[in-house]
């Protein structure tokens, strides 16, 4: 029978009492479990987990580190213009951008590789990223490519394809054995890459068709959800690419042709929304939906101004495919969430780095040529 401790001694830690040791033990246990759960949630206990950081690290390992540039689609040029909605898209989506009217757009043409100084003739994929900015409304960002399907359908497949198609330092070309091993393990990618290789490539940026590839859901005013994909279809006649002989054209011929084309007048594209039929896969970007699906022409994109990447223009936008307005929602396609996560890492890294001027420059336009332009939207906020 111990006498009760006087009140002032209950805070005394020495000499240790059994209750003190038991209390310290219990406290330590609770703290350890909490901190351990936190470390688990943060992936610190799963070094094999594929994360956004690892994906961006692999881009840097393959392409080299180019401070200030996007880790992929690094070589690009800024464009601005408007999207004129004809109202037809409002049947499928309640997003403000589909109500009849005109919305400012900030876009970026780029080639799909993480090397900002690579000659254009060594690139294979062209992309168009857009940010629709309705006044007082919600922004919609999307990135599209001139390929019919995406080469992979999971982030893990993407990560593996990056390694399999990276140039072998010894030969400067991908190791055929590694590529074959990847394609054997990923028949969906073998099929998709076949379709990508077989596509009709246009002569440049202006006459290319840009496809969103990933499936999203349009939500209408009544809350009805429709799985969709979208494309920007050029109004310029499509001219088949005639690959320039090596060394015969300037290394930025794709961009210089685009700039020369835009000096003659605005570029126009139709926004075509394709609705899935029941049973069409929405979680597999390697598979195109069959021909004959319902298509809605939602309006016309007009791009009338081009400028080199610089402070405050498209350079400083993260074209995160999940910056979506109310009325457009993700589907069960796993790629947009992975892209969103990885773009965030890429954006954060390049935002903090010293900027080098882009390889793509835009010559000043003759006086008076700017008069036909629509007012440029502010790119802030």
């Amino acid at each position: 029978m111990n006498p009760p401790l006087p009140p002032s001694s209950r805070y005394r830690l020495w000499p240790p009492r059994p209750a003190l040791l038991a209390g310290l033990g219990a406290t330590g246990l609770v703290l350890g479990v909490t901190a351990g759960a936190f470390a688990y949630a943060g992936g610190f206990l799963s070094p094999g987990r594929l994360t956004q950081t690892r994906i961006v690290d692999r881009f840097e390992a393959i392409n080299g580190l180019h401070p200030g540039f996007r880790r992929n689609h690094a070589k690009g040029v800024c464009v601005t213009g408007t999207f004129e909605s004809n109202g037809a898209g409002a049947r499928l989506s309640r997003a403000g951008v589909f109500a009849p009217g005109t919305v400012p757009v900030v876009g970026r043409f780029a080639v799909g590789i993480g090397k900002p100084f690579l000659p254009d003739n060594e690139t294979e994929v062209r992309s168009l990223a857009l940010s629709f900015r309705p006044a007082g409304g919600e922004e919609w960002r999307t990135g599209m490519n001139d390929i019919p399907v995406f080469p992979v359908n999971t982030p893990q497949g993407f990560y593996a394809l990056m390694a399999a198609s990276a140039a072998d330092p010894a030969t400067g070309k991908p190791d055929p054995a590694r590529l074959k091993a990847f394609l054997d393990a990923h028949p969906e990618s073998a099929r998709a890459l076949g379709l990508i290789k077989a596509r009709a490539v246009s002569s440049g940026f202006a006459d290319a068709r840009y496809n969103g590839l990933d499936a999203f859901r349009f939500i209408d005013a009544a809350g009805r959800s429709t799985p969709v994909r979208w494309s920007m279809v050029p109004l310029d006649p499509v001219v088949a690419q005639a690959p320039p002989p090596a060394g015969a054209r300037d290394p930025n011929y794709l961009f210089d042709d685009l700039i020369a084309r835009m000096a003659t007048g605005p570029l126009r594209y139709r926004l075509v929304v394709t609705a899935a039929a029941p049973g069409d896969p929405t979680d597999d970007a390697t598979v195109a939906w069959p021909e004959g699906r319902e298509q809605v022409d939602a309006g016309t994109l007009t791009l009338d101004h081009v400028e080199a990447e610089g402070p405050g223009n498209c350079r400083d936008i993260n074209y995160d495919p999940l910056v979506l307005p109310d009325g457009i929602a993700p589907s069960d396609d796993p790629l947009p969430a992975a892209r969103s996560a990885a773009y965030s890492v890429s954006f954060t890294r390049r935002a903090g780095e010293e900027k080098t001027p882009s390889e793509v420059t835009v010559p000043p336009r003759p006086p008076g040529a700017a008069s036909s332009e629509t007012p440029r939207p502010a790119t802030g906020g």
Binding site: Y11, G23, A35, F38, G42, G43, T51, A351, G381
Partner: protein, 182 residues
């Protein structure tokens, strides 16, 4: 025994925010290392962070209206100082982490979407270099908040299991009123 307690509203705010902040810390650390869950976690992270910011403001006002009960008279000076400092740190971080998050999205040119068509205005102009600094600060401050939370949790358990001085009970009680009147 009718020991002094926190006011009922203070206790309600405390436990509500405890659950929200703990969830928030796990969502934050989880989403930056998850590809599949990134988007839906982020879509919870933004409105939950703004809710914590609003509740922190409400709580600071409530603290003036309903001051905490006095600490036990026999509590040593060192523990008193530690208690005071950790609460200043907790309050400062409850404001700083969400505010830096909001500022960071603003400087990065992201729309600050809460839910559906509900958005907050930017509180900074587009400035990606500033975004990069704030993005790092958001992480550092969140880790600091988790560290102070662990200290707070450890202190609460020590009060309950070792000191047995009624400090945890003054916050954990379910009884109405403030007690201490007789």
């Amino acid at each position: 025994m009718n020991a002094p307690r926190f006011a009922f509203l203070s206790r309600l705010l405390h436990w509500l925010m405890a659950a929200m902040i703990l969830a928030m810390l796990f969502i934050g650390i989880g989403m930056v290392s998850s590809l599949a869950d990134y988007h839906w976690l982020l879509s919870i992270h933004r409105p939950l962070g703004i809710a914590i910011l609003a509740l922190a403001a409400l709580r600071l006002v409530n603290r003036q209206l309903n001051p905490p009960p006095p600490l036990p008279a026999d509590m040593p000076r060192a523990i008193r100082l530690a208690a005071h400092a950790s609460h200043v740190a907790l309050y400062a971080l409850m404001f700083a982490v969400p505010l830096v998050g909001w500022a960071m999205l603003s400087a990065g040119g992201y729309p600050v979407v809460l839910y559906g068509t509900l958005q907050l205005p930017p509180i900074l102009p587009l400035d990606v270099a500033l975004y990069a600094v704030l993005r790092t600060a958001h992480t550092v401050l969140a880790f600091a908040l988790f560290a102070v939370f662990l200290l707070h949790l450890a202190a609460a358990l020590m009060h309950a299991l070792v000191f047995r001085d009624g400090v945890l009970e003054s916050m954990a009680s379910l009884r109405p009123g403030r007690g201490g009147q007789g």
